[in-house]
């Protein structure tokens, strides 16, 4: 048989593509439930990490049940929405909506008899999405912990946002200023000590050198995602 005729090549490649497509779809569909479970566990690990609880893949579900005592969804007026589950809310869809229309998930953590409120955030970096969790202390103003992660920021530059060195300084920063106005967190350019140099120790952290667009994206993400919670935070506080 002439294996170099055009017809043969066409048939050969078509058959090959169909077989390969079938094999790959089969693999993807059979493994999907396991993969989704892994993603769920990772989400629980991240939520726990924002309140400084280290969880392994094995004990994440157990610790999550123990520490995350409540979770609910509120709207921008601070009213609880019944029948919605915080864990299932799709943040990528929510952040695309206007502030007033968003469903706002909140996780409540009880650790060592103190309460913390954990808010998930999501935004854009330089190459792709950024996301993370911000844990607030019971005063709903002071940040207790923050974790961030990214899909594909530049390794060594923007990707540093998922490192402890960047995340640690968020602890103790406040979201509201002395007059009670929502000011969010500012990321200061200029390397280490930039926030201190700008005299903004209460609401400012240092940006990552060489990762300006990622840092700015992160700043925008925090302010954009926390702003709709303003009413909720204020009403809960009083």
């Amino acid at each position: 048989m002439n294996t170099n005729s055009n017809l043969y090549i066409f048939i050969y490649s078509s058959v090959m593509v169909i077989i390969v497509a079938a094999a790959l779809s089969f693999t993807a569909i059979t493994l999907q439930p396991l993969q989704e479970k892994n993603i769920e566990i990772e989400k629980q690990q991240n939520i726990l990490a924002s309140v400084n609880i280290e969880a392994t893949t094995e004990n994440a579900q157990e610790l999550y049940k123990k520490f995350i005592t409540n979770s609910y969804v509120v709207n921008s007026k601070g009213e609880k929405l019944e029948g919605k589950i915080a864990f299932n809310s799709n943040l990528a869809q929510e952040v695309a909506k206007a502030h007033a229309d968003r469903d706002l998930p909140i996780y409540k953590c009880t650790k060592e008899e103190k309460e913390y409120f954990i808010i998930p955030i999501r935004g854009k970096g330089l190459w792709g999405p950024l996301w993370g969790y911000i844990a607030l202390e019971a005063d709903l103003n002071t940040i207790y912990g923050a974790v961030f992660d990214h899909k594909g920021e530049t390794p060594g530059l923007g990707s540093e946002i998922n490192q402890e060195a960047f995340q640690k300084p968020f602890k103790g920063k406040t979201l509201f200023n002395a007059e009670g106005k929502f000011v969010s967190i500012t990321v200061h350019k200029g390397g280490k000590g930039a926030a201190a140099a700008a005299g903004d120790l209460e609401h400012g952290v240092d940006a990552i050198s060489g990762g300006t667009i990622t840092s700015k994206g992160l700043e925008a993400m925090i302010s954009d995602c926390l702003a709709p919670y303003e009413t909720f935070l204020k009403t809960q506080k009083n």
């Binding site: 294996t3 170099n4 043969y8 090549i9 050969y12 490649s13 090959m16 593509v17 390969v20 094999a23 790959l24 693999t27 993807a28 493994l31 396991l34 993969q35 892994n38 566990i41 990772e42 893949t57």
Partner: protein
């Protein structure tokens, strides 16, 4: 049988894809920070190379030569996607660590090279042995490099601390440089040196 034996042992030593043919260096630098990642990577390459070699060898008489590279690429890519999916399902944390490098097995020159040079012209059983041999040669180097990098860079092996506390008390410190890619290159260089100095077949005449 002797011939088949050689197919397995040659790539481990005198035809080693990494140290002698200098192929697949990029992955060897990137994922040898920790032993566990290196082992998973080696097993992934072993799986892909062994199966790709057998599949291409079985198809060798039917593949139109004009599109043979495309056919090879499709076979490799499908196997790599399967590996990636399996890793995501069963060892999620390792798969996150390997991130793009599992996908980049597709571009690993060793695999393309073996398919083109060996599988297209040989029967399935020798092709299988050749695939396992080459992947083992590659994996062996990866694991050796990862062993030293993890031991000296982080003081751990497979994630467990092995350097005794007393050492640190005497002022021993982990060498952060070992974690960075340049030290992987130097480690590979040292392995090549040791190998070339000791293996008769590789000693060049003066």
């Amino acid at each position: 049988m002797g011939k088949n034996n050689k197919l397995f042992t040659n790539p481990i030593n005198i035809e080693n894809p990494v140290t002698v043919q200098i192929l697949g260096i990029c992955a060897a630098l990137a994922i040898t920070v920790q032993l566990k990642a290196a082992v998973v990577m080696s097993l992934s390459v072993l799986f892909v190379l062994a199966f790709a070699n057998v599949i291409i060898s079985l198809l060798r008489n039917t593949i139109p030569s004009r599109i043979r590279i495309i056919v090879q690429l499709v076979v490799i890519a499908s196997l790599v996607i399967i590996v990636d999916q399996v890793l995501k399902a069963y060892v999620y944390s390792v798969s996150k660590q390997l991130s793009v490098f599992v996908g980049l097995i597709i571009t690993n020159c060793i695999i393309m090279g073996r398919l083109e040079a060996f599988a297209l012209g040989n029967k399935p059983i020798p092709a299988l042995i050749d695939g396992i041999g080459n992947a083992s040669g590659y994996g062996l180097i990866l694991i050796i490099v990862a062993f030293f990098r993890e031991l000296l860079g982080s003081g751990t092996l497979w994630g467990f601390p092995v350097v005794p506390k007393a050492f640190y008390n005497f002022g021993y410190a982990d060498n952060g440089l070992m974690i960075l890619p340049p030290m992987a290159l130097i480690t590979v260089g040292v392995i090549i040196w040791v190998q070339r100095a000791n293996v008769k077949e590789l000693i060049e005449e003066k």
